[in-house]
Symmetry: C2
DNA sequence: AAGTGGTCTAGACCACCAT
DNA sequence: TGGTGGTCTAGACCACTTC
């Protein structure tokens, strides 16, 4: 494999941490120990531990050994992009059912989001998702034309569309943009989620891209209030989430 | 100042970018150029540019010069922690009014969040916040006892409590945890925000800490639907926001 | 082919932590 | 006081981009 030396060292440390060789709270070997063991220079070892630090696995203080903070890398990208992967990680039983799957012209907003020609064909999918048997989320997605054939071929009860198209067509989600707000349940939402009309829903709209920057899908997910909470940790040093004005605020 | 060499170089580059010497889209000088100009080694220059890259200001590809992506560092920490600072950055006219300010024993949850003794005194503040004259958010905050005296002394129409206590008592917010979900408006919410009871609100609860890890406040902010949207960009490489199960999901 | 960033080495000094 | 991480240097080779 074309992996660099420091990535090898990082991966080995990651596995040692995950497998309990270095449990959370324990101190990692010193840089010089690691350098000696791996027959690498101290600089290379520092690149490796910097990588683990950026993943939140270890912490450091000048003068003291590095400390193990967590065993698992936080997989929040997957957790934010894929309901199925998140639910699995939570240990919940998840099921899904595609209710509608139709090809239709894109609306102007959809075309703009997917960076497609206005009025070009998109695949619209309406899907209801359950957690431990309870209906929890209504998902309305439009897929770009180049992904549509793969999605059209999937079974109705496909648990993870993203995982499936990654397997079948090697189309992999790489990054995304998410817009989170609250909306009132429409009549379709209310019927599917078994809540009253106009009751509060948490909405997560997201746009998913490949590594090359090609838009895959534009989704509107609506969660029953109380079923999920989005969580952010931020600091003066690094902070990735921000607040934006909605359409209700005068410009 | 005790600043290190690479931080000096980074700060100088930051200013050059901000002031337009290196506009977005342009290419930065090469590492060797910068090293020569600063009479530093290439390694030190690399530390500096790595810092800017981590702030999202510049991007890089092997073999090509680094490219300037943005002029401003994204200040999402402030924007997420301080309504006033966010609104100011948006160019909105913001006003606030403290409606209630009482000292009372902490509930169990509040004590746990603030890491205080159960039943110890906290300062509870109810505040209504306007954007361009419209009531947009209801804020209910409990302050830890050691901050309470400063907050109690502030005027009713204080625009930013966080800014004020930073000025007056040198208590500075450094990091925080945020929980975002949707709730139905209670009768107090409805009256203050001028919406119907049970209509959807976007709720942002947050816990704010000093750099030393001392909890400053625990807040429940409720936004009228449509007034704000939270925005996240994430990628397989780095992703800070995640989804959590709410109380409604069976464990 | 020349230039550039990505990786790696083998040293060095300092500030800070542990004991 | 000795060990540790934080910073810095002056080289080197390679993969990749640019021309």
């Amino acid at each position: 494999m074309g992996r660099s030396r420091y990535e090898e060292i990082a991966e080995s440390l990651r596995q040692a941490i995950r497998s309990g060789v270095h449990p959370p709270g324990s101190r990692l070997p010193s840089e010089s120990d690691l350098a000696a063991r791996w027959e690498a220079s101290r600089g290379t070892v520092r690149q490796a531990v910097a990588l683990l630090a950026s993943e939140g696995l270890i912490g450091s203080r000048q003068g003291a050994r590095r400390v193990v903070l967590r065993q698992e890398r936080r997989q929040s990208f997957e957790q934010l992009n894929s309901f199925a992967q998140w639910a699995r990680a939570m240990g919940c039983e998840v099921s899904s059912r595609i209710l509608t799957r139709t090809t239709r012209p894109a609306t102007d907003e959809e075309a703009a989001r997917l960076d497609a020609e206005p009025g070009s064909e998109v695949l619209y999918v309406l899907r209801l998702r359950h957690l431990d048997g309870e209906p929890v989320m209504v998902e309305r997605t439009v897929y770009a034309d180049w992904v549509a054939p793969v999605v059209r071929a999937l079974p109705e009860d496909c648990v993870s569309i993203m995982d499936s198209i990654a397997e079948r067509a090697d189309i992999v989600a790489h990054h995304g943009e998410h817009l989170i707000d609250a909306v009132a349940a429409g009549s379709e939402d209310a019927r599917l989620l078994r809540v009253r009309r106009a009751s509060p829903l948490l909405r997560q709209r997201h746009l998913t891209y490949t590594a090359a920057g090609r838009a895959i899908e534009w989704t509107d997910d609506r969660y029953r209030a109380g079923s999920v909470v989005f969580n952010v940790m931020n600091s003066a040093a690094a902070a990735p989430l921000e607040r934006r004005a909605g359409p209700g605020v005068a410009g």
